[in-house]
Every structure is written in structure tokens, then in C-alpha cells.
Subunit: 344 residues, 2 copies
């Protein structure tokens, strides 16, 4: 089967929202009046971002989810995406479930596949995703209502959505460096392979959050982007973040037993610097606590308050007694694709 047949068969869908979808030199999208387009692109490479033998349906889900997560971080509503795909061979047994996982998630978010490219090569996916946000929002001087990394203010609360660190823990388990009970491994592995993009929460936070980023490279690293772009520092109450590791909270004999068997440092490293979480980290002033709770309720997404923005630059990690923890003591490093390779 030729390239064009493959594309046609698996990836040609109706595109009611786009003026023109797959099949021409370009797709055509028209924004509604007063809306801006939010655009993000992510490339996933076999052996780097996922194991080459990952279940293709989960992989199809994940490669769109990581892009939707960027839209979520901006508070954008998903509209459409393009898919560029390099495959070692034109394998229908792989393409069919891959397309299924991808398009099920796309349909769940009303996100149309409007174009793409398929070629032979080392297994690689590159998705570019398009969402929309109103041009004008709650902040009169800003040229957008999108949530940015740059808007945090001194005294803002810092929140994170959902759970943290289970994807990183699953990776360690799959690599054989920690042992997990089967049920916890399966749950953690689902977080690694089928992450949930917090699209509804992101939209609900427009006009509430002052800054937002998605947690793709580890909480501290991605919070660091907010600090850098906002020109501020932060303090994180580490004790508030630890319960977010679901595998630890759900450990058969409790969190203390998890710490005894796998090490509390392992838990901290996964939660604070694990990567692949695809949660949102965001800031909002204390006056908006009720509004944040409403946004969480409305989007059916748990959020946890974990710290406070400070004028002093840098990131202060506080233990349960309010004492500073030296980050070096945790061997934390934000995930860097060109640093020592921690990924699969």
C-alpha cells in the first residue's frame, strides 16, 4: 500500500470546523471574530520519549495529549491539529490502533485532524495543534486572554492539578530500578502512556489564574519557566506535594511503607522533577481561592495548593517545619533532552 493510500485510509476524516482539511497542499482554518489562534508543536521520538514497542493505541493518545496539554496551559479551546509521521515501515497492524487512539482523543476534544505528512524513517511523530482564545480578557492591557507564563505576582498562591510523579515512577519500574506491585505499576504506567491533558481546567482558569504552564519536564523545571518569565521566585511546601504521587498514597501499607521500601527520595524526585505528568502548574492571588475551587469543580479536576510566589528570585523548598531543603540533597534535575538521558 502506498503512502497516499495509507494517509487516506487512516487519517482522512470530516472536518466540519476547518474550511479545508486533509488532501490539498494546505489546510484552511478561519478564526471566529475576536479570537486568536494558540499554536504548539511537539515531536516524540522512539527510544527517547517512548519505548518503540509501546502499545500503538496508547501512543496515538499520548502524542496528541502532550500537545493538547500545551493548549490547556494557555487556556485555549482545541480546534485542529496536523500530524507528521515517520514510520520504519507501512504497517497496518500498527497504524490502525495508533490512529484509533489518536482520533478517539481528538474526537473527545472536538479537535480535527486537518493535514499531515507521512514518510519512511525512524518512528517519530510531530503534531502541531491549534486552539483558540478570545483576544481580549480580564486584564485590559494584555493583548490576549490566554494564560501565559509571565503574569504571576508576588503573594500569588501556586497550585498544581491532578497527580504528580507517577509517570516517572512507572518509567523507573519499567527500567527495573524500582519494583512496584502490579496494580500500582499498571496505574502508574497508564499515567505515563495515556496522560490526561487538563484542557477543561485550563479554559476554566482564564481570568482566574495569573500564570500557567504545563508540567511536562518536571514540576520544578516547569514552575521555573513561570518564575523566569514572571521575574519572581517561589516557595514550595514539599509536604503538600508528596501526597500527589498516587502510587505512594495508594501503597498497600500506606505512604510510610512506600518510603521504607522505595525510598522517600524516590518519591520526592518523581513528584518534583519526574516529567511526563501533563498536569498544570498555575498561580492565582489568594483572593481567587474560591474561583480556583470553582474552576476545579467545573472541570472535574482536582487542584492542590503547594506554595507561594515571592519577590526573591529562586526556588525555596520548605519541609513540614518550614525549614529550607537544599535542592542538591534531592538530586533533582529538570528533564533536559540534551542533558544526561533519563528517558526511555
Amino acid at each position: 500500500m502506498g503512502e497516499f493510500d495509507l494517509i487516506r485510509r487512516f487519517f482522512t476524516r470530516p472536518t466540519p470546523r476547518a474550511v479545508l482539511g486533509v488532501g490539498d497542499d494546505c489546510a484552511l482554518l478561519q478564526s471566529a471574530p475576536g479570537m486568536q489562534m494558540a499554536i504548539s508543536t511537539d515531536m516524540l521520538v522512539a527510544g527517547r520519549h517512548f519505548f518503540a514497542d509501546t502499545d500503538p493505541q496508547r501512543l496515538g493518545h499520548k502524542c496528541l495529549a502532550v500537545n493538547l496539554s500545551d493548549l490547556a496551559a494557555c487556556g485555549a479551546r482545541p480546534l485542529a491539529f496536523t500530524l507528521a509521521l515517520a514510520l520504519p515501515q507501512a504497517d497496518e497492524a500498527w497504524l490502525a490502533p495508533f490512529a484509533k487512539g489518536l482520533l478517539q482523543l481528538a474526537d473527545a476534544h472536538g479537535c480535527e485532524l486537518i493535514g499531515g505528512d507521512t514518510t519512511r524513517g525512524p518512528l517519530t511523530m510531530c503534531i502541531t495543534v491549534f486552539g483558540e482564545v478570545p483576544a481580549r480578557g480580564a486584564v485590559p492591557l494584555l493583548p490576549t486572554s490566554a494564560l501565559l507564563r509571565s503574569g504571576a505576582r508576588v503573594g500569588d498562591d501556586i497550585y498544581v492539578s491532578g497527580t504528580l510523579g507517577d509517570a516517572a515512577l512507572a518509567l523507573r519500574a519499567l527500567q527495573g530500578t524500582v519494583a512496584l506491585p502490579t496494580d500500582l505499576l499498571n496505574a502508574a504506567r497508564a499515567r505515563l502512556e495515556q496522560p490526561t491533558a487538563r484542557v477543561a481546567l485550563g479554559q476554566a482558569l482564564r481570568g482566574v489564574a495569573t500564570a500557567c504552564a504545563d508540567v511536562s519536564d518536571g514540576l520544578l523545571g516547569d514552575l521555573g519557566h513561570i518564575l523566569e518569565r514572571s521575574g519572581l521566585g517561589a516557595q514550595i511546601e514539599v509536604e503538600r506535594t508528596l501526597p500527589l504521587l498516587a502510587a505512594r498514597a495508594n501503597f498497600a501499607d500506606g505512604a510510610a511503607q512506600f518510603d521504607a521500601q522505595l525510598g522517600r527520595d524516590t518519591a520526592l524526585q518523581c513528584v518534583l522533577a519526574g516529567g511526563d505528568d501533563y498536569e498544570l502548574v498555575f498561580c492565582a492571588p489568594p483572593t481567587e481561592r474560591e474561583a480556583v475551587a470553582q474552576a476545579a469543580l467545573q472541570s472535574a479536576t482536582p487542584v492542590t495548593r503547594i506554595g507561594t510566589m515571592r519577590a526573591e528570585r529562586g526556588l525555596l523548598l520548605l519541609d513540614s517545619q518550614g525549614r529550607a531543603i537544599a535542592p542538591e540533597s534531592l538530586e533533582l534535575a529538570s528533564f533536559d533532552h540534551f542533558a544526561a538521558a533519563p528517558g526511555p
Copy 2:
């Protein structure tokens, strides 16, 4: 140097047109009222679309040019692009010239780099490019003024821009299957490695051409897309296409000598099915010949009339006496990334 430093250093530029450029979870673009966004994505893989040791500056040029060519085929004005890049290592000696070639072409077209992704992996580039076209154009019932593959009509002239086949000839020479004089090889190689996207011609053809596609996979294959989407056939006067092979026209002792030394079939195969030309093939009614000539003049791009659209499906190749040539006799096959591998 870490991933984020690399991105910042080479790929962070001012983006006067975008609401927000590189550095947040998403870029933000706002269309002008009445405009539509044309979107295309192309992935280039080392060893498949280019030799891994290709001059990085030329490669930077090419990976944007092939995307601009898709905008040209739609008659869209370039606005912006995203770049996802997988690199075997973070090599400044490679990244600096790559960025230079890429951004020089981007600047020449006012096309802003608004976002991207960098990761370690087999050398791969994926660009998604954004252009704009007016929503309403010369055809009242169409929901766009973009040039599509689907608008050709019976009796339309068929044109191609620029030159054809030199990229494919250069590839054969680099692979050692044909021998070319050095000056002709250098010229042909520049066509392969630094193609010219016909962006100005595409825009000038809006309201003139009835259908358009870019020639990326070979003339006959890409014309085939127009035939398929327009539900028509075509006849091509092969004798009109042969002079478009610059290496043959410029052969020291003339085209006849080229045919004697390299074979007329080689010339035909390169011109009709070579691939990597990034010219435009387009249709326009005979009443628009003056307008086509004006568009060519205005965009400083030569165009050649090579055939006619027919109601009968299929592609008819005619020799200089108007006799049908059997396509099988030419061993033509449109470039298919999953068919037998003709590329580097």
C-alpha cells in the same frame, strides 16, 4: 549547553506579527479580519529526504522552502512557522549554519519563527507553516480565495513554473548513476539542496489559476492530484517539458548531446517524475493567458504551458507528432515514500 539554551540562542527572534512567539506553552497568532489561515506541515528525515552530511545552511533553507512551497501552491502569503527538531547531538557547529539558512529564507518571506521543540534523536525536522489568504475571492460560491487542487475545468491550459528535473538529476549524479560536468552538477545540486518556493507566483495566480499544486513528488504525480480532485484528465505535450531540464538545455554540446550521453529517457524521467522540484503546476482557462503571463512577469517567475485538461480521465502523454506515449515505456513512477526507495 542544555536544550533550552540551544533553543534560546539560535531560534528566539522578534515576532512583530505574532501576538506571542517562542517561549511560552503556545504561540499566539491573530488573523486579520476576512483572512483565513493556510496551514501545512512537512517532515524531513536524514537518509530519506537528504544526505545526513548535507551542508546545514542549505538544509535549513530547504526544510522551510518545502513548506513555503505548499503555501505557494495555495496562493497564501507566509506569516509564521514552527520548527520541531530532533538532533543526534547538541552541536553548535551544525546548529549555527542551519539556523542561518533557515532564518535567512524566513526573513526573505517575512515568515516568523513562533515556536518549536528540540529533542535528541535521529536528525529530523518538522516544520508547520502558516500563511494567509482572503476568505472571499474571485469565485463567489467558494468559501476561500485559496488556490485548490480541485478547481480545474475541461479545456484549461496546464502550466508549470521554473525548471523541472534538475534536482532529480543531481540526486542521480550524487548517487553515481549518471555523470555530469561539474558546473552542471553544481547548478543541479543547488536546485536539490536549495529549492526556490514560488511564493510570489502563487499569490499572483489567485483569481487567475483554477487549480494549483506544488511539484514535490514529480510533475505527473502532483498533476495527478489535480486530476483526481478536479475529476478530470489531462494531456501533456512532453516535448514542451523537456527543455525545462536546465542541465540538458545548458549541456555544453546541446540537448542532443545530453540525450546521447545520459539518455533521453533519463531526461524524461527526471522532468516528468523526478521529485524535489518545488515548482508550481497549475491550470487556467485559455482566456487567461494574458493574466498568467502578467502573474509570471509580476513575480519574475518563468512559466511554461505544457498541456490541456480533458474530460476523459487519465493522463495522456503526447510526443512531438501528437502521438500517445505509453507511460510504462518511460519507467515513470511518482515518488512514494513507502514504495521502492528512490531517495537518498
